[in-house]
Assembly symmetry: C3
Homo-oligomer: 373 residues x 3
């Protein structure tokens, strides 16, 4: 990776630069499945306003605007199973097709019936969440957009959705960012008993299946001698070396499209952290955190006790709130000046630029050469 | 009226589309007359900032900006009868002419006196309200812009002014809208004991005097058989047929320029409802509701008891707040798709497009052919 | 001064019109010096975001954006004396040079070190305040931008900084404005016992050193006979003539660049009032008020008792809050119509237009002819 390449802002990555509201040809998690019950729920995803409803146990998503006068369907009513009626004039839509099946206030023979449709979005339910396909082309199987281990029957998945201020790309870059963990998070409670190293030598490698890029730490320096500060960082006696992070060939942190982070917790921890940065609009994203353990029975009970007793507020709360604050403060455009650890960021940008699914398949760029892991 | 014609947004109606801040050549009601007393009152009407003052019992309106440095005159003081002084430097204006009669802080011989004027707006007091002429041409008699029955000496007029979010045109269209009453208002408390029909066949007719357009219900269907919902609506046993609304040839609801709605209440009710949608700016309007009965003496006393005991909060409040919410939710522009009952809306748009008073009289379009009632 | 000249808005004064965010080539007071201690302080001055820090007792100012990803340095940390570290990735900057001395999370040999710099701003500490040089050319001695009497060792300086809404130019014009004091402030508590005259004949004169312009009252009229109001103003019996203000040849109020007002209090008062209108951005300014007496020992004690017992809340508070309200209400652009007392305003505009320090010295306009005082 040339130093040259590491400079400049988003402008040099044309597709990525254009994706301020997200890459559309993906499945995105939008809410906890069991929270969709009797009442319609409104969500903005990738710049589109959606309404989600559940009918006969299944979830459906439609554009949240009645084609008549533009009133949100999410304030609508349920006059019949499988249908959603606009609150304004009683236009009744089949939630599975989006077709207008009746315009109640114009009688059964209303000429408008059958001539109007609202856009529907494919919805799937997996891992206790609802996933919506935002693309213009036919959806891929939802399993293609979910890390397969999450679909294992013994996966115990704790979730936290937060609507956050900032652009999804900066949130994603922050998540995979090599260096910030070593400074921003150093004083978090979550890290109070761990020794975060000063710096790493990192190489970004690609997974066999071409899906993930991974930060491989080729060398890790617990402390070092700097000008001005001298020995840095200073550890407290109660801080122990953090798992295997001070050793080499660590592969704990990986990222894939459309913005999914996976953080293997140190070996003894027995769980894995995931993050999604779901684009909402140019200035907001839906931040989803998962804490996942693979276990059943008593093991599952222990996991949930552990999650709710400290992981929830220390890791999903205090630790990652530091990231929310930073992403909110990042200016929309800034003549950035990247440095060596930002190979993680440029590798992600290249992945997004060259591999993101596109509507016009034929015009998609050829698969580029990335180092394989 | 062709189905063709009923489609498309405001763009096809050029004058109406241009009137986002209202048609100017009209008298508009702006406040309850008795609420203008010692202190100046500020109002924005049709995009203009006004200050209203009362002097010698008469109301006056001026542009709410001192020509000197632009400070609102509505924070000014009253140093002499018939005059309003700018709070900043003591420029004293004659409220009837707008002329600068003294610049107190520059002495009696100030050269600026007599050389500066603020725009005045003609004001009239009728029906217990103040009416302001917003036009550029000389005002018509205010009686031309007030339904004549409101000027009758025995008219008992209850008023409610609300500053509401949304554009005045959508508020007007909502008021005259044929269909929304049959769905949006169906679950209001005001309608709890009435049977609103499912749908009507409607024709829009024009009054003899060419002022009003009226929704004539040629047939009305209390209930009907629909796909999916079957019999709709379902009435409760305590809901009685609502007056003559289930019969044919009903002429209860009429609209005229510049946005005045009249709703004759069912025969036995003995009162009439009026609404004005006074343009404030592109995104706000002043919503005026009147409840009017024609009576005197003991009859008047009974009317006011009736108004304040339930009409005020049930009709002027709960019922019409449903409309305020909808108008606020309507997007500023939307590729609308009209349906059959929207003949009411297109008739209004045509009326506005072809009949609204214009500044350049010579270029006014010829009176179009509308069906006469 | 021709009547012609007194008309029109800012447009005719090209440099002044362009200086919506202030004239840059000046020292501006930005905060009370002793309020800068351990934590960095953020300020926006002349459109630039700054961070101020104190190191080894000295104050420093830097641009408040890390060049890396644009995060404000004002949320940064202090890892070593004389340095400020970005909270995000540990980029450590020398506060005196702005140089990047270490990128902690990239190890001691990080190639970025020495290649990146944030802009620094010269800072001086005088009169208990911090002064920042916002210019592009080398700073003049700070004493050039502070009225010299404030630098006297026995000056007792009471300060009040307020972040206010409005443009700094309108605040400055309001401060030097001849006429508004005679109307706007007439009913302030501060003036309750004083007789403010009706109007003055004023000439604007320039100080010997060319720095200040001064309002010289050539004649002052306590009361006068006007049309409509007749005798004005009416004084209360408890209102006494205010110092020498009713006499001629009063030189109490002066203004200089870049927007510094000096108001000599009436002879017996024994103190002087100063105001700075520090540009923040187009719509905000930092309003600094000073109340200054020259005394020591017991005299100083008496002065501070006097300041805190009534000058603080009556003059720095109630009286000048009337000005804050007015400046906030002034429209950003307005086709103003000036009058005779506005010679004070046009003289200031001419001073600003012709004398404000400029970056391109060679293109600076020649010194114009102003009446010398």
């Amino acid at each position: 990776m040339h130093d040259e390449e590491a400079r400049g802002g988003l402008a040099q990555w044309k597709r990525y630069d254009a994706a301020a509201e997200g890459f559309r040809e993906y499945w995105y998690p939008v809410m906890v499945a069991r929270e969709l019950r009797g009442k319609p729920v409104a969500r903005r995803i990738a710049g589109d306003d959606l309404v989600l409803v559940r009918e006969h146990g299944r979830a459906f998503a439609l554009a949240d605007r009645c084609p008549h006068r533009g009133i949100p369907l999410s304030i609508g009513k349920r006059d019949a199973p499988g249908h959603l009626t606009c609150r304004y004039h009683g236009w009744m839509f089949d939630v599975s097709t989006g077709r207008l099946v009746a315009a109640l206030t114009d009688g059964p023979s209303s000429p408008i019936v059958g001539k109007v449709c609202v856009r529907t979005y494919p919805v799937e339910e997996r891992c206790g969440m609802l996933w919506v396909w935002m693309g213009r082309r036919p959806p891929v199987p939802v399993e293609q957009d979910i890390p397969e281990e999450l679909l294992a029957p013994d996966a115990q998945i704790a979730k936290r959705f937060v609507l956050a201020a900032g652009n999804w790309r900066y949130a994603t870059e922050n998540g995979f960012d090599e260096a910030h963990g070593k400074y921003l998070h150093r004083d978090s409670l979550w890290m109070a008993f761990k020794r975060i190293p000063a710096w790493n030598q990192t190489r970004i490698v690609e997974s066999e299946d071409g899906l993930w890029i991974t930060r491989r730490q080729e060398a890790s320096y617990a402390q070092d001698e700097y000008p001005v500060v001298n020995r840095w960082p200073r550890f407290h006696v109660w801080q122990r070396p953090q798992g295997n992070i001070v050793q080499t060939a660590n592969n704990r942190l990986s990222l894939r499209l459309p913005g999914i982070l996976r953080v293997l917790q140190p070996g003894s921890a027995g769980w894995t952290h995931y993050e999604w940065y779901v684009p909402v609009d140019r200035t907001h994203y839906l931040y989803l955190q998962l804490a996942v353990a693979w276990t059943r029975g008593l093991g599952a009970l222990k996991w949930w006790l552990r999650y709710w007793s400290y992981i929830r507020w220390l890791h999903h709360g205090e630790f990652n709130n530091q990231d929310l604050r930073i992403v909110r403060l990042m200016p929309e455009t800034h003549p950035e000046r990247l440095f060596r650890p930002d190979v993680s960021i440029t590798a992600w940008r290249r992945l997004a630029e060259t591999r993101a699914r596109d509507y016009a398949e034929d015009s998609a760029p050829a698969v580029p050469e990335l180092v394989r892991g």
